[in-house]
Symmetry: C2
Subunit: 450 residues, 2 copies
């Protein structure tokens, strides 16, 4: 990475001296991702100079790496023909990517300045449900003919332009554009010039449909170790292909979504610093309110028993600890199950195996917690009498066990009912096990102490 | 996926009839990942029949897709020469992958039956720290010579065997085996036969070192949209390459690790069903105990104030709700910050931007929660008097705000101190904000009510 040392000052200097030759050399020699980061730091006039002097295939690639607000500013400064030229050099999935984030006036401006054939294609892509395979596929895939030789195919490839460098496979379709085979482009290097494509192509195909969840594409790519997965439309025809770089983005997105849901935040795929305060507020307040209203149950239970509880010294003091222990124990189980479900390590019919495993873990954790709690109270909270201390320890033991069983069951039930298990993990479980912990405590305390 | 319908019964039938020809055809035509899943369902004798009759390059690939316990059983049933033949056909990263999970006697058996040159290589790979780039790289990379033509390079490629199909790039090194360039294999298709490699290779290289964290490789692959990243050893020489399929595994692993840490589970990369009960117990009990001991603080605070609190009716009833609200609010912030840090969306010097943003979100959430709580108490808990209800609402407001600020600050501090922010998110924050919530409540209650 010796070359990764062009500074934004050097770049600004070249722009102000209008040193076009050196600028072209620089953008040619250095990595386009790094150069895009520098362009992002330029002011609008400097950036426009870059976009007006460099070749369109270079500026289009830079454009695709810029953040959305910069893209918006640029589109507003471009003339109609400039927009058209830029879009000609962009892959359709990159265009759709940025169109999805733009305000309506920009989307309109872009669609006005796009070639009619392209416009139809982009419109179609924009209409696929967000997070569907159709919305992330690239329509610039490569097709080969089944009756051609390897040499003929290579010659055809050399005439193609604007091919995504992430595309690792070519696809073979029949006369109805139905997918019948695939061949890795690299494979072509190893074959003999006069081998027939149909004799060497892979016919045991892995594919997704345009309406499938993007997660499915990610799972298949991972399972079958392929770099590109073809996408089939409703009529069974080849519609596009999803490449490993988009799959990596999907995997990150899905993990972020699950993490957010698990901590009671409605998921967003906007980067943290680019998300507005109001949008953040909206994504968080719903669950905070739901959970606070949910706490009315525990509050009312405590209220009813308050007088009774106050007859034994220090009984209410342990309520927060019991609730936290139950919440933590439940969360551990629900999180592990939810993640295992997301990774495909667990299926819904593994539920008996899960119960048996969690049951044994729950006993071990529950007993340990109960015993340690007994000594904790003895050592740190000396004024509590032994009898109370035993009841509290037994309560810890029972609530931890019950919380673990609830924690592992709820996500599985969610999947069975078609809900997202990640919503079950986290805050919802905490609220539920809070109530359970309290009921166990009051039950045991009433029986033995009150 | 029309062909995805061979059943395990059909396979068993062919084995019992010793129909080798049909078996060979089947394993050749159908996807090897699917066939491996079927092999996993065979009993040991049936599986051994497959391994003894099919070609070694096929069985090696099947072996690499089997779960670890099946691999272990197979190695134990193989003769020495059989092990050697199998290993010859496996990529080094796959061998290391399975060796890392095997008990010592199996590792010894494998190392005894491996060719000496290969043994040295495997031993070296086994010595790289877990989760380092060295431990996941493939050493079967492809090198080309700078002064060769494209045609000469293609001819050289055709003579190579056992090349990982995920490998998308060839690398060019100088006489000291130092990396000087890279070229995508697909690119070779598009070049003219007599183009010189050194004129067309990419010299602005992206690479990692053997000791770098595997996470770094994942970040670079994602940033630069490359399918393969080269790995350089301590002496600056090319040592291997990491392919996109391993990167996808790393991304899943890192997300799982963070999710586990956030819910107070020590991370494990073993699949849920393959993890033993004792190991699960160990991974969970530590945090459960730490957090229970931590609850001694809240317990003691409540104990000291118990008598005072009991002078106003229903005051202790709201403690669990306050703690939960604070915990949820703090968790939301800490989770969002931790994830944004993990994705590289946030840097440590963004802390002022984070504070300013969270501060405004905290005010909005805090005020909403306070107001809603006032009406919640009024409607659902009528016996609480207005004065108490106002104090509780102000407490909710303040604790939610403070919890959010603690939640966003702790992960950033963790990064600054070189700790993992994921450990800060989740249970640790819950315990801390519990104490804070209690202190705010007691402070406000003492001032206005007691």
């Amino acid at each position: 990475m010796e070359n990764r040392n062009v500074t934004v000052e050097q770049l600004k200097d070249l722009i102000h001296h209008k040193n076009v030759q050196e600028l072209r050399r620089m953008f040619n020699d250095y990595n386009i991702v790094d150069m895009s980061e520098l362009v992002d730091q330029l002011d609008m006039n400097e950036a426009l100079f870059i976009f007006k002097t460099l070749k369109k295939n270079v500026t289009s690639e830079i454009f695709s790496y810029l953040p959305h607000d910069k893209q918006e500013d640029l589109i507003q400064s471009f003339t109609g023909p400039e927009i058209q030229e830029m879009l000609d050099n962009l892959y359709s999935d990159d265009i759709v990517d940025f169109m999805e984030e733009m305000p309506a006036n920009i989307v309109k401006r872009v669609l006005q300045n796009i070639k009619p054939a392209r416009r139809a294609e982009i419109n179609k892509l924009l209409n696929y449900r967000e997070d569907s395979c159709g919305s992330i596929m690239n329509t610039n895939y490569i097709t080969l003919k089944r009756n051609e030789t390897v040499l003929q195919s290579i010659e055809r490839l050399r005439r193609l332009k604007n091919i995504d460098r992430a595309l690792g496979y070519a696809y073979i379709t029949d006369t109805k554009r139905e997918l019948i085979g695939s061949i890795s482009l690299k494979q072509l290097l190893y074959l003999n010039d006069d081998d027939k494509i149909e004799d060497t192509m892979d016919t045991d195909l892995v594919y997704v449909h345009t309406n499938d969840e993007q997660e499915k594409a990610a799972q298949l790519v991972q399972k079958y170790d392929i770099s590109t997965i073809p996408v089939i439309n409703d009529e069974g025809k080849l519609a596009g292909a999803i490449t490993y770089d988009d799959i990596i983005d999907v995997i990150h997105e899905e993990a972020t979504e699950d993490i957010h849901k698990m901590s009671g935040v409605q998921p967003t795929d906007e980067p943290y610093l680019e998300t507005g305060v109001l949008s953040m507020y909206k994504h968080r307040i719903v669950w905070l309110l739901v959970l606070m209203i949910g706490a009315t149950f525990t509050g009312n239970i405590l209220m009813i028993f308050e007088e009774k509880l106050s007859t034994v010294a220090y009984l209410t003091v342990f309520v927060p600890m019991l609730m936290d222990a139950a919440g933590n124990a439940g969360n551990q189980s629900s999180t592990m199950i939810t993640r295992a479900l997301a990774l495909g390590e667990l299926k819904i019919n593994d539920i008996f195996k899960v119960w048996f495993k969690e049951f044994r873990v729950a006993i071990l954790c529950g007993v340990t917690m109960g015993v340690v709690n007994f000594f904790r109270v003895l050592i740190f909270m000396g004024m509590v009498d032994i009898e109370t201390s035993i009841v509290i320890s037994v309560t810890v033991m029972c609530t931890v066990m019950v919380a673990k069983l609830i924690g592992c069951t709820l996500p599985m039930i969610a999947v069975k009912l078609g809900f997202d298990p990640a919503v079950m993990a986290g805050p919802l479980i905490t609220t539920l096990v809070d109530v359970v912990a309290l009921l166990i405590y009051l039950g045991l305390a009433s029986f033995f102490l009150l």
